[in-house]
């Protein structure tokens, strides 16, 4: 192994160990938080069944293992988690793992689409903003992004549905695909893409606003830097300066920010998926809260932490690849 590969391997091993420890803390904390809330699955099921018979509730509680002391429940839960067993959702009558796996692709698709859109659009808008700094295109972009930044996500989603779905009728207002259409091939992909537009855009808006400001600032900084002046003094053309000298250095703060935002994005998925009835993890989580489906909720939270931890690790590695002065150790 080269020294560099060894360094990276050491870095990965350390970060992985940290990640596992962090995950354990999060799992315990989540468990404590969820059990601090009054009411449990037995109450919720009994409530829906329309009975308040104490005997029925007690039986239910015993069946669900909810009558055991909390430390025992925690121990059982952590033990299961260590084996990669997420448990069983009594609400859905299905294993939590299969429930999550069923919904995960939809959420990942939505996340990827909104992040991708936010990054791509912010690069364009931020670059324009920087090139026309303090002139009208910059002011217009600033105004629009400020609007995106300040508007609550759900309101934005609702207004998008009203405008594009109801009034203009261009795009579907909810769901992930048209049930009446075939679910194979290119037609299906296009159908999903059409359904994706509004939720992805809605979810992207807030991040688009932040990223655009960030790209604008770092572009301005890069354009004002000594190395760009030196590149100009070497006779380098503007296009090459933009692509080779400015963009790459301007990209690093964006990468950091995207990494930090992944957790927020997962949280935001709850709202977006509810507004657009997108069949993803966010909706599942929202429903689980109301149904006191603690097993399911805990698993989603833990899974969310895993995604965030892994994503941050990837971002750190990407950062090192983009910025030679940053070395993984």
């Amino acid at each position: 192994m080269t020294p560099r590969a060894r360094r990276i391997a050491r870095f990965l091993a350390r970060r992985l160990a940290q990640g596992v420890a962090l995950l354990l803390c999060i799992a315990v904390l989540d468990f404590a938080l969820l059990h601090a809330v009054p009411g449990d699955a037995a109450d919720a099921i009994a409530g829906e069944a329309g009975t308040a018979d104490p005997g029925y509730v007690a039986t239910l509680r015993h069946q669900l293992g909810l009558d055991q002391p909390l430390p025992v429940q925690l121990g059982l839960y952590l033990g299961r988690l260590a084996q990669g067993n997420f448990g069983y959702s009594f609400r859905y009558g299905q294993s939590v793992a299969s429930l999550i796996l069923e919904r995960l692709p939809a959420t990942l698709l939505l996340m990827a689409a909104s992040i991708g859109f936010a990054v791509a659009a912010s690069l364009v808008l931020g670059t324009l903003s920087a090139r026309f700094a303090n002139r009208w295109p910059d002011r217009l972009i600033t105004l629009v992004t400020l609007f995106f930044y300040a508007t609550p996500l759900f309101w934005f989603g609702l207004m998008a549905i009203v405008l594009f779905g109801v009034h203009l009728g261009w795009l579907p207002t909810g769901g992930m695909y048209d049930v009446a259409r075939p679910r194979t091939g290119l037609a299906f992909a296009l159908d999903v893409a059409r359904h994706l537009v509004l939720p992805a855009f809605t979810q992207a808006c807030f991040f688009l606003a932040i990223y655009t400001r960030l790209v604008r600032t770092s572009m301005l900084q890069a354009y004002g830097s000594d190395y760009v002046r030196f590149a100009r003094a070497k006779g380098v053309g503007e296009l090459r300066i933009a692509l080779r000298h400015v963009l790459r250095n301007a990209l690093t703060p964006l990468v950091t920010m995207v990494g930090l935002n992944l957790g927020t994005l997962l949280g935001g998925a709850v709202l977006t998926e509810t507004v657009f009835s997108w069949p993803g993890i966010g909706r599942l989580m929202y429903d689980a809260v109301f149904q006191r489906d603690v097993n399911l909720l805990l698993s989603i939270l833990v899974l969310g932490s895993v995604i965030v931890i892994v994503a941050n690790l990837l971002v750190d590695m990407l950062y090192a690849a983009l910025t030679p002065a940053v070395e993984l150790r």
């Binding site: 000594d226 190395y227 002046r229 030196f230 003094a233 070497k234 006779g235 053309g237 002065a325």
Partner: protein, 324 residues
Amino acid sequence: MTALLEVDGLRVAVNGGAVVLDDLSFSVARGETLAIVGESGCGKSVTSLAIMRLLPPALRLTGGAIRFDGADLATVSPTRMRDLRGRRIGMIFQEPMTSLNPGLRVGEQIAEVLRIHEGLSRAAAWRRAVELLDHVRIPDPARRAMEYPHRLSGGQRQRVVIAAAIACRPDLIIADEPTTALDVTVQAQVLELLKSLQREIGSAVILITHNLGVVAQTADRVMVMYAGRKVEEGAVAAIFDDPRHPYTSGLLRATPDPTRPRPARGVLHEIPGMVPRLGARASGCAFRPRCARAVPRCAEGVPPLLATNSGLAACLFAQEGAAA
């Protein structure tokens, strides 16, 4: 012999406001080294950026001509200017720590010049870049070319910058305080390198500095600037022996001379006051408020450049013997 570079009546101003360079004229002959000296804020760097047409957006060229080998750089097209930069005029900046792009290998940053101006292939440009690194006396150049700037010391980075600036063997090298940010021992090495490269290529050099020791070591002629104007100009030895502008003599007296024994050196003089801020320059002679010799007449218009034994000086008393 006609001059390689002839700056004539150059004016630079802040957009719609204060004048930064006022009616600046000077010339540089082929192979010659002209030093431009003055305190910070006198317009030395602005002069060099104006020649390169790389003025920051807040500054504008408002008049004058910059004739370089037949072409007027003040009016030449951006495309033509870009072609001259790096190929016929090389520039070295003050801050080697920040002049190089932190995200590109130093070899690439040199090869870039050759690929643009000489149309070399990636591989050929890289080979030349390694040769150039060797030429600027960086040890183990093939390995060094692969490094990113943060792995190099300040002196080495400045050598890389120099290598990129001389890659196309330019007719003119503009060095804007090339050694100010370096350690004293490294300064001497870098200056020595610059001089030997100049001899080898035959370039003219404009050396911007506020270090008069550097001027004495390297330059043929010197131009002293104050508040955006030329106040004195002439051959280095003559000016140093017999400065006729009070500002020049002030600068000289503010420079320690280690060759003289300590008692004789006495207290180092300083010029009272500071370089005026833009837009706050005194009427008439801008140096008047700091000048011990100033008389009411100094306020009546900018003093003309008068011929002296050592060259030209913009002082009413320039022809009356050594400046106080």
